[in-house]
Structure formats: C-alpha cells, structure tokens
Symmetry: C2
C-alpha cells in the first residue's frame, strides 16, 4: 500500500516527490531504427511493423467510409449521447478560448496586432491497448476543428482482427477528423512526421502513448515537427483536510491508480484520522475493481504525506507540480489561488478527476512528470500559431525613427539603420 | 549576387525554398560533452570553459552592483532614451496580451476556467560577438516581467576583458532581470538547465545563439527544461509589385543580409522591371556598409523569384513560412489576410523590418527555418503556463454523471465511474 510520511522535514520533501526516472538510452536506439526505416521505406515499413507489433497483416492503412458507417451502427445510443454531451462541453470551453484581434497603437502611426491561425496539418495519436481512449479523440479533435486546422489526421493501432474500436472511429467522425489510419506505436509517429505514400506529413503531432511513442515524439521534435508536450505516466495529487470524505478521496486515488502500474498517486492531508480512514476505504473499494491488479501495483509506489497545515500541503504540491490536483478541503477556492504549478485543478467534494477526464469541458491532455511548472495543458492555443503584424504610416515611422536608428547604430547594424533613414529622405 | 528564378514551374517551388541543412551529428558530441561537464562540475567547469572559449579568467560569474551602476554611466543618454522608448512600446503590446479569466458554465453547476501563471524561474541567453544584442534583452525580459516570473536570470558571454556590454547590463537592469551572469555558449545553457553553485536552475530557457547554443537548448529540452523554440539563421521574405520602391526593398534585404553569412534573403516580385531596379539598388547600397562582407556572402545564397501574380507570391511565401514577411504591394492589408505562415508581417512601404527588430512593440524572437508553420514567436504566453480549474456543485455532478459514467464504463475504467457514483449515493 501507500508509503506514509508523517510530518516530514522540508529537507526530505525533494526525496518524497521524486518520480521514477526511465533510462531511455537503449530505447532510443530501437525507436531511431523504426523512425529511419519508415522514413526511407514508407508504407512498406509501416505495414511490416504493423504485422510484427500489432500481429495483423493489413491490405490498407486507411479506415474506409464503410468502416465509419459501420462504427456508427456498433456504438450504443447511450454511449453516443454521452460522447455528444462531452463534445458539447469541451467545445463550449475551448471556443471561449478564442481571442479577438486587438489592434494596438503603440505610438501615433505605429499599429501592431496579433492573429491566431490554425496549424494547417495536425496529427493525432490515439493509443490502443487495454482501454480505447475515444475521450482523447474529443480532447484533441475538438480544439483542432475550432482552430481551423485544414487537415486533421488520426492514427491508432489496429487490433489483431484489423479493426479500430468503433467508439474511436465514431468520435473522430463527429469531430471532423479528415482521415483515420490503422497505425500505432513509433511507426505511426514516424509516418505523421515524415509522411508516407498513404499518410501525409503533418506540422504538429498530439496525443499520449507508451514510452516508445513518447521517445519517438521527442526525437521527431528535433526534425522540424512540433509536438504537444513531453509525456510521462499520469498523476494525481489530492490535498485533503478533516472536512474531506474518505470514501470520495479513496475513489479518486483509485481512479488514477487504475490507469497503469506506473501511475503516480499522492495524498497530502492535515488529518491523521482522515489518512487512516482513507487507507481503509481504499482497501475496501479496491476489492471490486476489475483492474485491481494494476491499481495495486500503482499504489505500491504511491505516497501519503501528513503535514501540519494546508499552506504546507500547497507548498509541497507546487514543488511536485502535479498533472491533476484535487482540493478536498475547507475554502478550496481560496486555497486554489495559492496553486502555482498544476495541470488541472479540481475544487471541492463534488469535482472528481474523472469529470475532467471526460466531460466537464477542460482538456485532459495535461503536463506530467513535473512539466506543469513550465508547460500548459493542451488548449485551443496548441492548434494555432500567432502571427504578429505591424503597419506604420510615414508619420509613425518618422516618430519612431530616432529610437530605431539609435539602437541599430549601437548594435553595429548599419543596414538596419539605413532601412529607416532611406524612407525619411 | 541573388539567384534569379523567372516564372518557375510550381514543381520547382520546393527546391527554390530549400534552406541549407546543417549536420549536427558531430556538433552534438561536443555539445553533450560540455553539458555533462557542467552538470557534474558546476561553476568549476563553467569558469574553465569561459577561460578556454572566451579567453578570460573570471573570479566571479556574477555581474556586481558596481558593474550595473557603472554600465548606467557608460550608456549615452541618446541610447538610454531610445531603449526606454522601445521598452515602452514592447511593454504596451505585450501587456495587451494579458487575458482576463473567463468563467465558463459548460453545464448548469459545472463551472470551468483558465488562469495564466508566470513561470517561476526563467533564463535568458543573450549572445555576445559582433553585435551586442541589448534589443533581445528587452524582447525577453519585458514579457517575463509582465508575466510575473519571480526569477529572471540572464547569461551573456564576457569579452576578453571580462566585461559585458554596458547596454546589455543597462537594458537588463531596467527590465527587472534579477541576476546577470558572465557566461556564454553551451556552458551558459548547461548552467541554467542544471544549476551550479552560483547559477540557479531555471524551468525555461529563452534566447538566440549560434548552432552550438541551439543544439544545447534542444538537448536540455529532453531533460525536463523547456525552451522558447528551435532556432535557425534569421530570414526575410519580401513580396513586392510595381508599386514598391526599389531603394526601400533593397535596404530591407540588406538589413537582413548583414545579420550573418547564413542569413536567408528572398524577394518575390510580380515585376521584372522592379527586380532589375532593386538588384541595382542593392549593389549601390552595399558599397557603404561596414558589414559589406557578411552581407555579400548572405546575398550569394539568397533568391529573387519573379512570379505572375501576388496570389502566387503569397502561396510561395506560405510554403516557405518566413520569419519576417514584408508586404510592399498594393492593398497590402488585403494581401496580409492570405498569410497563413510567417513569424511577423510588415505591411506597406513605411514598415521596414528594423522597426519590428527594435521598437514597434512586436517581439523579434520569431520562428525561423520554416517553423512559422507550427510555432508562434515569443509572446507573453511564452512566459506563462495556463492552469485549468473546475468546480461542480452536487447538482452539476448529478447532471453530468451519466455522461461520465457511460464513457468510463466504455473505456473499461471502473474506478473512474465509481468516483462519480460514490458521490451520488
């Protein structure tokens, strides 16, 4: 079960918040080999790796219109309704992120502005495996569509029978994904980064994945392709005081623990009694979980920290910079104002992480591994670039000319100075 | 002089816009060695490399308060006035980028919002060499201060006499830089990424540099430090028709060419007569440039393309995705609306690139090497991360519960479902 730290000395904090460090040296070689092969051999290599790694010999990488129609039939109406409601909320929250163009006159006759423009071609990666993450399709495709990306392609590994989960196809179809391909792992990242006969090269790649996929994204990032962010195992940190409800917090910790054996789960509380009650509740709830085995493993390297005050709890949390932060304490809203590093914050007893994972409207693609200290989660911004513009009148140029010429002179850049001077002649 | 392409076939476009590709394999080894040395030996290694590469044996890496006071005396009042005016305009444009918090109720009782929070510790790199880039200090430190970054450190290589250009120190001092260090090159990036006894580790590193610095930034980016963006040689692309003035455009092309021998300079025009006149004007203006030699070299691998229509010109420019785009043509504003990939756009005959380089208010740290297709230039956003928040009432959770539970069920994540169910009991 969870490692317990009671009123640990601040000197010990850095040790407590340490995350497991994966050695990627060996992994890098394997990943590089696959990247190069796909870069040089295109579809042929992708099909071969799909046979080797996914165990299926595909004729075509593309999901056909028939498969899309068919997926629509296979998804239950209940699930469709749920997906549509989630889509609606995600859409509402991300549309509100559009920023209108502000025209700024920095000096008389000197007018500057910024314009957001959708990245023309983006690629979304959706992992396969134990859970079909159609929710991630919504989290990536909805903002991509709002941003006005012209090409939104999606890659997801096929199962042994050569199909992709119908819920993934359904979600992609209603979110304006332009093309769906049956490709997973490193070969999918390579195909989107370099392009193949079938799959077109994109400018930016989004989406979660195992350590091979993550490594592949980091490597192609060195080769003129952008990525959403570096990714690590999913995390939750809960800050709770005596007003929190042990059963609720236990359920939240378990919902993170069931993600994978490497999930990071941390509870910081000011109440020893609450800690004991929550540990008991975890034990109890764990029994009935289908993914019990996974959750148990995750809990083994999870931590329970008892601190003196909520202020200390926040301090420790800011140091850890969790992907998800749940505030189950009195005046949670006030406490939330002291958060300076977290991906997404869940406030109060009725805001479990799972609402953010699926449907509240916030994005669930968030910085892990401490990156919340410097990275934001995926948002509308992630799918756009902001171009700046300036237009000067002759009067404006005259007004600013001394400033520019003086600085150009001092930096020893005479031609920069001339470009202004010649226009004032 | 410039390579000329007259009405080239579209099939040839990709060849025309090709940028020189630097092979970084060898370079990577050298850079890695320096990174490792600094990581393990700290200040000792930094001081040694400063002796080896900058040719000066320093006692201390820190710029002292006395040096700051002294720099203030050494900078002329004219330059101070210019720097202050530029700072004011950059401040005005970047303050306007602050986004107020929008509280969004995606469903009754389901409230979500985003909050920008300054990255706590940032590091700015300012190259030394032929031109003291105090303008870049303004472009990075001003938004960092607006963002509310708590620690803003700056590294710049010392000259042989162990000093840093007073204008750089002056600009840093008036922009709230908290600490200035006499460190350059890879050792500076390493010091800011890993921290040393003197220099504290930062979360994100900004600023231009040679290919060694750029490579170092890309490598530390793999190690839990963020960077502003990948960087390449500076570029300008000018689109001009017969309404443009050859002398102005010639001056703009030369102001880019004087940056360095590897600067990229492209002119696309619909008028053969204009092309001829501009080439002549370049020849003429080139003669009196102190940096004539550099500019000449840059012009040798620059390009002049004659096309049939402005629409074609824009198409070609969007394919190239230039760092700087100057529109010297009729209805430049209308034409600017067709731009989908560029760092910063300069509109009309009185908006030379140099105003944006120094003082219009837009940021001059911009995506090069085609990255304008997916990256934005540096802005206030670059110094913040955006945290999302959600707060649900019990009614809100009830309202959204079916959606979340249905989706969690379908993704096989029972604990996610339980986290909602248990709260409704």
């Amino acid at each position: 079960m969870m490692k317990v730290f009671t009123y640990p000395d601040k000197k010990k904090w850095n040790k407590i918040i340490q995350r497991p460090v994966a050695d990627n040296a060996e992994l890098g070689k394997t990943v590089n080999k696959i990247l190069e092969k796909v870069r040089n051999k295109g579809d042929k290599a992708v099909l071969q790796y799909t046979k080797d790694f996914d165990g299926v010999k595909l004729k075509s990488l593309s999901v056909t219109p028939d498969e899309i129609t068919n997926a629509d039939k296979l998804v239950s109406n209940e699930l469709k309704t749920a997906i549509q409601q989630a889509k609606k909320n995600i859409d509402t929250f991300h549309v509100a992120q559009k920023d209108e163009v502000k025209i700024i006159e920095t000096m008389p006759g000197v007018v500057c502005w910024r314009q957001s423009i959708g990245i023309e071609k983006v690629g979304l990666y959706i992992p396969g495996g134990s859970a079909p993450l159609f929710s991630t399709v919504l989290m990536l495709a909805v903002p991509a569509q709002i941003a006005g990306c012209k090409e939104i392609i999606l890659c997801s590994p096929p199962s042994k029978d050569g199909t992709i989960d119908p819920a993934i196809i359904y979600a992609a179809a209603i979110c304006g994904v332009t093309k769906i391909y049956k490709v997973g792992g490193v070969q999918a990242i390579a195909a989107m980064a370099y392009g193949t006969e079938t799959i077109s090269k994109v400018f930016k790649i989004f989406g979660p994945g195992n350590q091979y996929v993550t490594q592949a994204k980091q490597l192609v990032q060195q080769q003129a392709v952008a990525i959403d962010m570096p990714a690590g195992p999913s995390e939750v940190l809960v800050i709770a005081d005596e007003t929190a409800i042990p059963e609720y917090v236990a359920a939240d910790l378990l919902s993170q623990a069931e993600h994978g054996p490497d999930s990071q789960v941390i509870l910081i509380t000011t109440s020893a009694a609450f800690a004991t009650a929550t540990t008991a509740a975890i034990e109890k709830q764990l029994q009935d979980l289908p993914r019990k085995g996974i959750a148990k493993k995750a809990l083994e390297n999870s931590k329970l920290v008892i601190v003196a005050t909520i202020t200390e709890a926040i301090e420790l949390s800011n140091l850890y910079a969790p992907e998800h932060l749940i505030l189950s304490c009195a005046n949670a809203i006030e406490v939330s104002k002291q958060v300076i590093a977290a991906g997404s914050v869940f406030i109060g007893n009725y805001s479990p992480e799972s609402v953010g994972d699926y449907a509240s409207g916030t994005n669930h693609t968030l910085p892990t591994n401490g990156y919340a200290a410097m990275y934001s989660g995926v948002s509308l911004d992630s799918f756009t670039k902001k171009i700046t513009y300036q237009q000067l009148t002759k009067e404006g140029l005259t007004m600013i000319s001394n400033t520019v010429m003086e600085m150009a002179e001092a930096e020893g850049l005479t031609a920069h100075k001339n470009a202004v001077a010649i226009r004032l002649k």
